[in-house]
């Protein structure tokens, strides 16, 4: 009995119908959190004593970087689930997570470069953190490319899941890079254990943005997975009925 939900996850249709009602709530919540967090961070949080106003980029740079990494976990774990249990839905989640993670990594890299110019005096440097984030971006692109490279979806899923799993070596390197090679990138602003070196007037808008990015990620991942389900099941009667054509 307890495992019924797990077996149901094998049915993409069940998942699609179950998640119908979640979309508007996730959309509303993410838009509200992102708007509040952005306005708070841009206009109401105090300026940084050393960096002035340029630090306000943190309110998107840090959440985007968080989700770039969290997206990779989701992609790699669902890839592994798809490999091991041959679960169709897990493969779809992996496929859907890759472009979202790539865009968020891109945001992290671009905002980091723009932040670097007034703060460090350079757009780019081959600092350990930045280089490992660039590698993360290429790993995402690799998964996207592998999805397109094979005729059979099953082969494509297998190949991209293996790449995603091999690429997880990069994750601890990204986390630890600011401590192992302390060059230009500043160390972590948020710590899960112990006191964070940030004032609450800056911390609250940052947390709002981080939660907003998480909810947004969940929303977009869900939307993409649902579209992927429709794409895969387009020959079935329920999808045809949904499309509005006459289901034969």
């Amino acid at each position: 009995m307890g495992w019924q939900w797990f077996h149901r996850l094998g049915s993409p249709r069940w998942f699609y119908e179950k998640t119908n009602a979640w979309i508007p709530w996730l959309a509303l919540l993410s838009v509200a959190l992102l708007l509040i967090g952005a306005i708070w961070g841009l206009g109401f949080a105090p300026a940084d004593s050393k960096q002035g106003n340029s630090y306000r980029i943190i309110y998107i740079h840090v959440p985007a970087s968080f989700l770039a990494l969290a997206g990779y976990y989701i992609m790699a774990i669902s890839g592994a689930v798809g490999l091991i249990w041959k679960m169709k839905l897990a493969d779809m989640v992996m496929k859907s997570a890759a472009p979202i993670g790539a865009v968020l990594t891109f945001i992290a890299l671009v905002t980091g470069a723009i932040w670097g110019k007034p703060t460090w005096g350079t757009w780019w440097i081959w600092d350990a953190r930045i280089t490992s984030m660039l590698l993360l971006f290429f790993l995402y692109l690799g998964v996207i490319a592998l999805q397109e490279a094979f005729q059979h979806q099953a082969t494509a899923n297998k190949a991209s899941a293996i790449l995603a799993l091999v690429g997880t070596v990069n994750i601890p390197i990204i986390y630890k890079s600011v401590d192992w090679w302390y060059t230009l990138h500043q160390p972590a602003t948020l710590k899960f254990t112990g006191e964070s070196p940030i004032d609450s007037s800056m911390l609250y808008p940052l947390l709002t943005m981080i939660i907003g990015f998480y909810v947004f990620f969940a929303l977009v991942l869900l939307m993409r997975t649902r579209t992927e389900i429709l794409q895969c099941e387009r020959k079935t009667r329920w999808v045809k009925a949904l499309a509005g054509g006459q289901a034969s």
Binding site: L42, A47, R56, I100, V110, T111, P118, L230
Partner: protein, 75 residues
């Protein structure tokens, strides 16, 4: 409780941000465009898929009608 006062004298100072404005606003703009793209892409794809399925359904029902007509004419 954190102090919630607007940090800038007026709107033009808010835009300028003491010289950092272009950097900060560029970041927020790029991010906004990227997030809107992420939200819209699956909707556009679904619309295209539904349009294609509707087209197929029309073709199928059209052919079915033709076959029905042909069989009634033959009999």
């Amino acid at each position: 409780m954190t102090d919630l006062t607007f940090q800038f004298e007026n709107l033009s100072e808010f835009m300028l941000m003491a010289g950092h404005g272009p950097y900060v606003w560029a970041c927020y703009l790029i991010t906004a465009v990227a997030l809107i793209y992420l939200a819209c892409a699956p909707l556009i794809k679904r619309r295209a898929l539904f349009a294609e399925l509707q087209r197929q359904a029309r073709i199928e029902s059209h052919e079915l009608n033709k076959r029905k007509q042909a069989s009634t004419e033959n009999s």
